[in-house]
Amino acid sequence: MKALRNPSDFWSGLLFVVAGSLFLTLSRGLEFGTPTRMGPSFFPVVLSIILIAIGLLVVGRSLVLHGEPIEGAALKALALVTGSGVLFGLLVRDGGLILATSALVIVSAAASRRFHWLTALAMAAVLATFCAVVFVWGLGLSIPLVGAWFGE
């Protein structure tokens, strides 16, 4: 990537082009209409074209003007934090709040450099209890504490 003069502009421009093209493609099956009677794809098509144009300008500019490089991404933190969120979503209904919360805490805690098993387990226990008391008993949210998996 050393050839890129302005990587952050280059990639954001490319992202705009890709996003614009995606919306443009998805608009194809919809009616465009006329200005007097705008169809469902009228506004999205206009916006997509503007977005693609902006994206191309940004990419073009990135090839001419120099810019700062992109700092390395914290991929481990990214993976663990997003993974823990998805896990919560998967577990919360059938596994229940306690299981989902504990899983979220333990997996996300592993993203820290100062991760320790014992503190993670302790945090999971504290937070799961706290959420059960505050959200389910206190605020009365209708989330099962223990899900269907453990029910029957």
Partner: protein
């Protein structure tokens, strides 16, 4: 006086024990969560929004407004004590506030911020009371073309006044507008861009999107640089500013209030711009500009007053026009709609007690802020000494439960996660998230007004130019864009934002 009678009505509404209690709870919770590093007002409000669902609309709005001030003040606390601004509007506070803290004057800096915010908030309350009714009158005469052009102006202003690349910010707006269109088209009832996912029929939820970008994304970013935070919590003592401090801060507070009140009303203005502007003004007016950045009390008093005044007057366009000028107001609109109130000029005439109750509660909220925060400064400082690795899993849990409880839908949690990744990625690419969020909330409104305007004019796009108010707003938008391209303006814009 009409205004006074209205304010009386407002205070009667806001001063019921229930509303007072929720106002206090909002300010307390807002500060509590706002003090946690990396959680600005947007994430804080989004997180606590579900807690207000069971309340009557006035009470809910009063509590949310309290959360907003609390979170804003919490952000200033972290800026002063650990040099981590909770949000961009307290960026400049960190410069001199943290320097003061290092000199052992953290208590004075925190007190200055609280006093400045209170004075600014009190004055801004009256500004709103006087400015909102005439504006709502004007707004009632707005037709679809005026609304469309106003939104264009608001979006353009939000990027012109922000920092970073203008072109990329414009791209983010358009991207946000497109994301806002996901879901069922209001006019034809056809589903757009939903990939046949039933949960997307109502569009992407605003709370999951905001919480993902400003909550989750921020956590991932903070995990990059976990170490090396210096906490000055043990040095918080001696709160009261000295007589000399008072003399030095009163001018900046009043100037900051004036600046913030005006800039907050502008579409796209609000707290961030106000604090930056106030800082540059104080630095320019100071006899000893070299002190700035090294612990000048003016550098705390001015911006803190300005951002609070701006935060408050930014309610004006939201309440009178139904158009958000910043992401926080966008959340407020979302909250109003959830409570069955359609924001716009009609709110004031149809629900005067809601409108004036909210305004009165702003003053009450600011009052609570000062009586709550001066004694509790020590406690907030202690909270800051909790290591981040023990905090963020808890923040994640609250985000996840909050988002899930909106609709009892795991799908919303996935949306939050996806936008967390997107927000983190855009941060890496130096793309601003706030314009995207504004575009996201305005997308459907813009489409609707464009459609109505063009139907009324029988497809003639010159309707936006032949109606004078609409033409004026488009001209202003164009002017703002052109100004950024002028070398002189560009230079001041860069220096204004380079002071962080």
């Amino acid at each position: 006086m009409d205004v006074l009678a209205n304010l009386m009505l407002g205070f009667e509404t806001a001063a019921t024990p229930l509303n007072l209690a929720y106002c206090l709870a909002g300010v307390f919770l807002g500060t509590l969560i706002g003090v946690l590093p990396g959680l600005g007002p947007v994430a804080t409000i989004a997180m606590l929004l579900p807690a207000t669902f069971g309340l009557p609309p006035v009470t809910a709005l009063i509590m949310l407004a309290g959360i907003y001030y609390g979170a804003q003040y919490g952000g200033s606390t972290t800026a002063i004590l650990i040099n981590v601004p909770g949000e961009s509007s307290s960026l400049v506070t960190a410069l001199d506030g943290y320097a003061m803290a290092r000199q052992g004057r953290a208590g004075v800096a925190l007190a200055t911020a609280a006093i400045g915010s209170f004075i600014a908030g009190s004055i801004a309350t009256f500004v709103i009371a006087f400015a909102a009714p005439p504006l709502a009158d004007v707004a009632l005469r707005f037709g679809p073309p005026e609304y469309f052009s106003l939104m264009v102006l608001g979006l353009v202003a939000s990027v012109v006044l922000a920092h970073g690349s203008l072109l990329k910010a414009l791209g983010m707006i358009v991207f946000g507008l497109l994301l806002g269109l996901v879901g069922t088209d209001a006019n034809s009832a056809i589903r757009r861009f939903t990939f046949d996912i039933p949960e997307l029929a109502d569009g992407l939820g605003f709370v999951p999107v905001a919480m993902g970008m400003f909550g989750l994304g921020e956590i991932i970013k903070n995990l990059e640089s976990e170490e090396g935070r210096q906490i000055l919590s043990n040095r918080v003592q001696n709160l009261m500013p000295s007589r000399a401090d008072w003399q030095r801060m009163i001018g900046p507070i009043l100037r900051g209030t004036a600046l913030g009140s005006v800039l907050g009303i502008l579409p796209g203005g609000g707290a961030i711009l106000s604090s930056f502007a106030a800082y540059s003004v104080e630095k320019r007016l100071s006899k000893t500009p070299s002190e700035f950045g090294k612990g000048a009390i003016e550098g705390v008093a001015g911006p803190e007053s300005a951002n609070n005044a701006g935060a408050q007057t930014s309610f004006i366009p939201m309440l009178t026009l139904g158009i958000p000028s910043n992401p926080v107001m966008a959340l407020m609109i979302g909250a109003l709609i959830i409570h069955g109130v359609q924001p716009g000029p009609a709110v004031m005439t149809q629900q005067p007690s809601l409108f004036w109750g909210l305004i009165a509660s702003m003053w009450i909220g600011n009052f609570f802020l000062i009586i709550l925060n001066l004694p509790l400064v020590g406690m907030w400082a202690k909270m800051l000494s909790i290591p981040y690795h023990l905090l963020y899993p808890g923040i994640l849990v609250f985000c996840a439960i909050g988002v899930f409880s909106l609709n009892n839908a795991p799908f919303d949690v996935y949306v939050m996660v996806a936008f967390g990744v997107l927000g983190y990625g855009f941060g890496k690419l130096r793309c601003e998230l706030a314009p995207m969020l504004l575009g996201f909330i305005l997308g459907p409104m813009m489409e609707e007004n464009l459609r109505r305007a063009l139907t009324l004019s029988r497809g003639d796009p010159t309707v936006f130019l032949s109606r004078p108010v609409s033409a004026l707003m488009l001209a202003l938008a164009l002017l703002a864009l052109a100004a950024v391209l002028l070398p002189a303006f560009r230079k001041t814009r860069e220096t204004a934002f380079q002071e962080d």
